[in-house]
Symmetry: C2
Subunit: 430 residues, 2 copies
């Protein structure tokens, strides 16, 4: 699984360096086997060397040599010896949380969020900045986002981590070449070269990105979906739609474990599925789009809660928290608005499920926070509107990652890049 | 590209027969090369033997031997010699229209349609029967459909064709195992084993299917989409949605040349995308689904045209023809209904395009017949509602196959099966 776009400078430079040293075929084999062993530890660890050998078909000697290299690279660590099933002491191998990390950056409509994630999926550093990007230029927004990234790179480096790269989540349409074409809720962001601008801010200094950093840009709902799949608490998520509720509403459609992107990369624009075709005008040019009816600001307004830009789902004193409190207290205006939003969400998600046929919906962002009130009307609409619902009811789950889903998915694309091809991170044998 | 389900008895029987004769490896090679040569002729023909050798990398001797076999099997024929570009006379090779044929059967809500299609894509036999399947049992409908199939098998056999199999199109949800789970407009059709029932009617007699026939069942919109791609007049259709307008409305989503089926096979249920969430009740259980607003009967009623079940798009004296005549004559009720249907279609298709990101819409069935009136409002809705429309406007095309699209696609799945693996149709060399 790769994000919308990626590049690694080390990758381009590698072949020449290595060909000079050793025969190409042996090089390729080692590269392949490093990935094989690391992948086995990542998916099924902790595992003993003998178990890795059995699972991969490699000899124990080869496994031991490769494991030594992976341990030296900080990708794998040896846990304390335990007594195995057959009574012999084992030294289980697991991914090393002290090794290379990925940085995830999310620029959403009214906040910026950054996280450093280690190979085991744990968040080592996190920064959240309230920032209404509708009222600043893309250049200014990206400059302050870059400053947050420098901040966490600095902190992660001090903790001894190597920073392997940066994944970036944006609330808009990212094409298959990695260009942000349009962000319907951020008028100035059109054909914005987000990664190039960030590289301009981050390519030097001790708290910048290393020259061989892997960077990637993708839609925030796609990355949140991947974050949920890779790091979330629902087992065996492989075919689902992650519904990202923020000021804008998006969907990350995952089929067979990979994001379904459509022909140009723009698939999943759930927020612009019409739920009230003659309804309020939308930034996309249409009318009555889901996000005009059940997006964060529309929902708050309908509930009579003051809308403070920047009071994201995560803020304990924000508008969404106020809405939750009122709903908990039985406020009729709040409950009515939530029920209407749940029905609207159900109409749009039913359309999506009828069109793409996924068995599971994961509610994320705002919708995860408000799931207790939305789930009823949403499930009712799915039950009546999804054609296959009588024998294949759509399952509704709630994101387990909360507001971290997109940054963890963004950082995860960097970690996946390491796991898929770790050789660049492993010193060549002398 | 394979349809929802397929089986070939000859395939199951083949290995044992052949292993007795010759080494498996040589057998596999010949099988592969037969498909390679036939595929080259199918895609790029007419071609000389030398051109086939150059394109496939096989020696001229091998190509000649394989071509002789393919000619003997009636899959390829040698055209009259022509003078080639380099001045030497060539004997161009092309697919043989006198060779094996596929039968396509479409059972829609109010008609049954059958066609025999040869390897070049031409229709050799066609039968259409007006039959409202809502008022008969699945058993009775399938019995009369089987009689139509026997009729064309008889005629095709008399013309000297070998019948290679039967593809069946139904207006409902076909799962990935080939079972019709539900047809929202045909209440009795639930978990109906369509292929088994048809086999029961067709498995013996000179006008039945041969014992080794390839049979497959799929949704009618999926098969119409494939028919349009394989045999239609729009070049390079590989990423598009075919919108099938009948009493029910469906969509065949094609990405990268293959039908996008979703997890269970139910993708593309465009007819049940809500366009008026509080609108009229639908057979699916929902309200205001597209087909309740812009399906054939809804549209005719809105236009004030009497609805005669069985008066399909194709019938020159049918209700749709009446609607066309009235619209041509400027009848205001007809024009108003068509405009409203075009807008409703635009709302639903915009939702689909926003969700799956396809660049092209092909109007089929009823919507092809009424395209002159629907295209304006449809294009207007796509232009305002599709998020990517400002730089990637959705292209709207009209099906070139008319009411034959689904039967040609259904027969085409049989022909594809021959082209993908022709060896079973080629006598083994002595």
């Amino acid at each position: 699984v790769t994000a919308g776009a990626g590049r690694t400078r080390r990758e381009a430079a590698r072949p020449a360096r290595q060909e000079a040293k050793r025969p190409a075929r042996q090089e390729t084999l080692r590269r392949h086997n490093l990935a094989l062993v690391l992948g086995e530890v990542a998916v099924h660890g902790p595992l003993s060397r003998a178990q890795v050998a059995a699972a991969t078909g490699l000899t124990k000697g080869t496994v031991s040599s490769l494991v030594d290299d992976l341990v030296a690279a900080g990708l794998v660590r040896t846990l304390a010896p335990t007594r195995g099933a057959v009574g012999r002491p084992g030294n289980p191998l697991a991914l090393d949380p002290g090794g290379p990390v990925g940085v995830g950056l999310e620029i959403d409509v009214d906040y910026t969020r950054v996280a450093v994630v280690d190979l085991t999926g744990d968040v080592r550093q996190r920064r959240v900045e309230v920032a209404d990007h509708r009222t600043s230029s893309p250049e200014a927004s990206l400059a302050s986002a870059a400053a947050l990234v420098r901040d966490v790179v600095h902190a992660a480096t001090r903790q001894g981590h190597a920073v392997a790269g940066l994944g970036v989540a944006v609330p808009g349409l990212v094409d298959t070449k990695g260009l942000l074409r349009l962000a319907p809720n951020l008028p100035g962001w059109e054909s914005t070269p987000v990664l190039s601008v960030l590289h301009g801010h981050l390519d030097d200094g001790p708290d910048g990105l290393p020259a061989d950093a892997h960077t990637a840009l993708d839609n925030e709902a796609n990355l949140a979906a991947l974050g949920e799949q890779w790091f979330g608490g629902h087992p065996d998520l492989r075919d689902f739609v992650y519904v990202s509720g923020e000021i804008g509403v998006g969907a990350g459609i995952v089929t067979g474990g990979a994001v379904f992107r459509g022909v140009s990369g723009y698939a999943g624009e759930l927020g612009h599925v019409p739920v009230d075709p003659d309804g309020p005008a939308c930034g996309c040019g249409g009318r009555g789009c889901l996000e005009q009816v059940a997006g964060q600001e529309a929902l708050l307004r309908a509930a009579g809660v003051p809308v403070d830009a920047g009071t994201t789902t995560a803020a304990p004193d924000g508008s969404v928290a106020t809405l939750r409190r009122r709903a908990d207290g039985g406020d009729r205006e709040a409950l009515r608005a939530l029920e209407a939003a749940g029905h609207a969400l159900g109409v749009a998600v039913s359309a999506l499920v009828n069109v793409v046929d996924v068995p599971t919906v994961v509610l994320g962002g705002l919708y995860a926070a408000l799931a207790p009130w939305l789930r009823g009307p949403l499930t009712a609409e799915l039950g009546t509107r999804v054609v296959a619902s009588s024998w294949a009811p759509t399952q509704v789950l709630v994101s387990t990652l909360g507001p971290d889903a997109a940054v963890r998915g963004a950082a995860g694309t960097v970690l996946r890049h390491i796991l898929d091809d770790p050789e660049a991170y492993v010193p060549a044998p002398v």
